[in-house]
Assembly symmetry: C2
Homo-oligomer: 192 residues x 2
Amino acid sequence: MAELSTRQRILDGAGDLFFRQGYRAVGVDTIVKETGVAKMTLYRHFPSKDDLIVAYLEQVNQLLWEWFDQAIEPHQGRPREQLVAVFTALEKLVKSPQCHGCAFMMAASEFPELDSPGHQVAIAHKRAMWERFRDLAQAAGARRPEVLADQLLLLLDGSFAAVRMFGLDNPGANVREAAQTLIDAQLPRELS
Amino acid sequence: MAELSTRQRILDGAGDLFFRQGYRAVGVDTIVKETGVAKMTLYRHFPSKDDLIVAYLEQVNQLLWEWFDQAIEPHQGRPREQLVAVFTALEKLVKSPQCHGCAFMMAASEFPELDSPGHQVAIAHKRAMWERFRDLAQAAGARRPEVLADQLLLLLDGSFAAVRMFGLDNPGANVREAAQTLIDAQLPRELS
DNA sequence: TATTATATAGACAGGTCTGTATCGCGTCAA
DNA sequence: TTGACGCGATACAGACCTGTCTATATAATA
């Protein structure tokens, strides 16, 4: 039983509330009550609510990349299969009850100013995801890797949006096949 | 110069603020100040802020269907082309400066409870959009119209999400080609 | 002219928001 | 034993929130 640090306890509790209810909908008092931490303790670890939100988004960023790497790991050296594997994993993700959408899209929605702290982290994450798609597409020999990256990012975000909109029974359940179709269309005939 | 009704003035002003900044971020006082209307007048036309939000969403719903019908109108009787035409229009829409994303996705984001008033209107709209896609896909002779409808809805919402996330220069600019690819994959060889 | 409907203007109630200040308790190291 | 330190609890300031109330102005209608 590794005891979590206070900082981590705050981050986890606040993150859960943010993810479910939204950033503006959750007040600091609620976080304090939910985590059982004192208000001053929270403010000593995170100077402002904005800082807490940014810290949460950075944690989600890290977790999502672990998820991503885990998804493509079994297909090392076969970039085309890796691209598909991401969407196989995504299909499973958007069908799981602990997924309430995308924390970054929520941030972009609630903090529309492009240069606001939360939105900046969100853009950085999505851009990094796009680059990953493009690199894999390029490695797989795509004719126009950037175009494929655009298309796959649309599918990814469309799936996350669908979870938030419809709940568990959402059209993201068919995202793998869509991704497969787009990949096939942008890649030369399968070799292996 | 048709003078707008007070109700419409409130709806337009509030809608603009909601769309840009978000529902929770905009207070009633801000709407009152921006529209130049008295607070009591607002509350006589809309009993609560939630009612105002719902009324706004219903107006957006109507406007979006007009946009949709206008997009497919030139291709009457050719459902396959009509499907593509929606995404040609969407590409144009997400590149225009007055588009800040999707008011319904924002509602789903900020009011995550599936049975909250705003979320209900949002779900109804998206479901109707899905049905339109499915009907057109079926009319075009798609093998699995429901699957194609799922896929196209992902692209649509992915594009709207991309606008909110990245601003004017977003990957939604390539959504038409993605839609075309998915449509081609689900439809028998073009006849006409 | 009197009435009715609708508008503006602004004070106000009661609650919630973020962030600060204060006090006291326990722990651990010197 | 002493002192530093992290933490819990709680009161508080000042701003903002939704929604109500009163008072007044205006315009159409009976």
